[in-house]
């Protein structure tokens, strides 16, 4: 075997070992178990149990219920939460899409609905629907 060939085969073997080491058997078995456990659930329940909602699973429950309560002609939703974060804004925008979402705005835009999460409804709004840990609101 030539030196070049030996070098190439050795380097290829090193790369293969490194790549195989990157796979944790524990993680793979956890994934397989999660998939087997969740496959029969509906899509929203699968997302609830997944990584995307892990930062606050109650917030995802709130969003999912909110999306089912929104009237067809809704223009946008202003969500008020004590823990605003980019993650929460992104998840809310995605979960409610195509309905536009803003988080903790100074003023609710005209014709938009409001929603509170882990906060009491602000004065001057009426409750359209109770949500888990929150409510869907409209101007009077």
């Amino acid at each position: 075997m030539s030196g070049r060939k030996l070098a190439a085969l050795s380097a290829g073997a090193v790369l293969l070992v490194l790549f195989l080491l990157a796979n944790s058997p524990r993680e793979l078995s956890r994934r397989a178990a999660f998939l087997a456990r969740s496959a029969s659930l509906e899509l929203a329940a699968r997302r609830l149990g997944g990584s995307g909602a892990a930062f606050d699973r109650n917030f995802f429950i709130f969003l999912e219920t909110l999306s089912r309560q929104l009237p067809r002609d809704v223009v946008g939703v202003a969500i008020f939460t004590p823990r605003p974060s980019p993650e929460a804004l992104h998840l809310a925008s995605y979960a409610l899409a195509p309905v536009p979402v803003v988080m903790n705005p100074a003023r609710v835009p005209p014709r938009w609905l409001g929603a509170v999460y882990d906060l009491p409804p602000p004065p001057g709004f009426r409750i359209l629907a109770q949500l888990p840990r929150g409510a869907l609101l409209a101007r009077p």
Binding site: A11, A39, G52, H90, Y94, P98
Partner: protein, 441 residues
């Protein structure tokens, strides 16, 4: 609906998409190159699916099977007339040996592992939720491209300046499926991985690699976890890595004039690169430079190849400009070019952050890669592919210096993920250097 049912439906949709692409690929890939035809066919099918969405919007009809099938007919019927013949007689089939079977098993394991990682849960990466999935879901649900995506400051996090190819693709699949299912749709990603591996294997075989070398390169790539993992599923890196491989290999084929389909493949790959990510446009520009350098040694190559590369990308860029007007790259501060002292300092910070964040095992891997490159022989195609990868790497190394949030932020959040997308291109460039007349490996 259970995940299994949904997955089967998405698989059926993507099978139809692939079958249409297979028909169109008759004009792209020489007859007999089955692995490449599957890969290019999948690429063509995905491109048609994505294109069917803005076409339907332009015609003010609902995206779905009708516009897709119209586009499919427009692509497949001419492809039958422009069908490419096999350049040479097919090689006799060799018996499978132990090494080939072993490499095949490693490759199959890589595909299964990525499928498991991609399909464990609905696509969840922040860039999917905030950018690609948000736009795709909006296009699907509204049946149009709402202007607010490009105009509202509150939606700046969704990066309105990014190309729309992937959101159109997601919307196209959802329209064919009849609903938005961000879990089953993740099947797209393992299938893109498979198409990438087929493209790599098929191209290397056509370039004279033994079955073991081609399979070895594909098997190694299939196990490349920084690219093929749960986190990248839903984001642009896996599709872009596929597009860049197709671009690089078709560029080499066009310069070397291997077959009549090379020019058509280059057009499709250029479209895909420019439509997937902004750096795809940069990559196309790097391709122009590589072709220009190749033209120094081969007359008559540059003008036509440059047109094949630049025109499709220019059309994609112009279509985006028309749709959303000019939008600046919001993550970058280009005024730093007027402050060279600060820019140089930031470049230093970028290199320091890259060195700090590079895991020790990655250094071992890079050393092994250097050995593999050194063990090969000079190959113009290999040089072009590695030059393209080097251009992209240089850009990824430089860009953090311009980041508004600071070099360390971009290195930590994007550098390793984006450079991982160069893996298929590098694999092709390294492996083709190991091919020579007497079948080195």
């Amino acid at each position: 609906m259970s995940f299994t049912q949904s997955l089967l439906q998405v698989a059926a949709v993507l099978t139809v998409v692939g079958a249409v692409g297979w028909g169109a690929a008759a004009a792209l890939v020489p007859a007999g190159a089955r692995a490449e035809r599957l890969a290019w066919g999948f690429a063509a099918g995905l491109t048609l699916t994505a294109l069917s969405v803005p076409l339907a919007f332009a015609l003010r009809i609902r995206p779905g099977w009708l516009p897709f099938l119209v586009l499919a007919a427009l692509a497949v019927l001419p492809a039958r007339l422009l069908r490419l013949r096999a350049p040479t007689a097919p090689e006799p089939r060799a018996a499978l040996d132990g090494v080939t079977i072993g490499l095949g098993l490693v490759l199959a394991a890589g595909v299964v592992l990525y499928a498991l990682k991609a399909l464990t849960e609905p696509m969840w990466a922040n860039d999917f939720v905030a950018i690609w999935g948000l736009k795709g879901k909006t296009f699907f649900a509204e049946g149009r491209v709402p202007e607010r995506l490009f105009l509202w400051k509150s939606l700046g996090f969704s990066h309105p300046e990014y190309p729309l190819g992937i959101p159109f693709l997601y919307a196209g699949i959802a329209d064919l499926l009849g609903r938005w299912d961000d879990h089953a749709m993740a099947l797209l990603f393992p299938l893109i991985q498979v198409a990438t591996l087929l493209a790599l294997f098929g191209w290397l075989r056509r370039r004279g690699a033994t079955r073991q070398l081609a399979l070895g390169a594909a098997a190694l790539l299939s196990q490349f976890e920084p690219l093929y993992r749960g986190f990248t599923t839903g984001m642009a890196e896996v599709p872009l890595s596929f597009a860049m491989l197709l671009f690089g290999t078709s560029l080499c084929d066009r310069v070397d004039r291997t077959d009549h389909g090379a020019a058509r493949r280059l057009v499709l790959a250029s479209l895909m690169c420019a439509g997937t990510k902004n750096e795809g446009l940069f990559f196309v520009a790097a391709g122009l430079v590589v072709v220009a350098l190749s033209a120094l040694f081969r007359r008559g190559v540059f003008a036509r190849a440059a047109a094949l590369i630049a025109l499709p990308a220019a059309v994609v860029a112009a279509a985006h400009r028309l749709l959303r007007r000019h939008l600046p790259l919001s993550d970058f501060d280009f005024s730093l070019f007027r402050r060279p002292g600060e820019l140089v300092h930031r470049v230093g910070q970028t290199f320091a952050a890259v060195l700090r964040e590079t895991p020790p095992l990655a250094v071992v891997g890079l050393a092994a890669l250097v050995v593999l490159i050194a063990a090969g022989r000079h190959s113009p195609a290999g040089a072009r592919l590695l030059a393209l990868a080097a251009c992209a790497l240089a850009a990824y190394l430089f860009l953090p210096a311009l980041a508004v949030a600071g070099p360390a932020w971009l290195v930590e959040t994007a550098f390793f993920r984006t450079t991982a997308a160069l893996a298929p291109l590098v694999a092709a460039g390294v492996a083709v250097r190991l091919v020579n007349g007497d079948r080195f490996i």
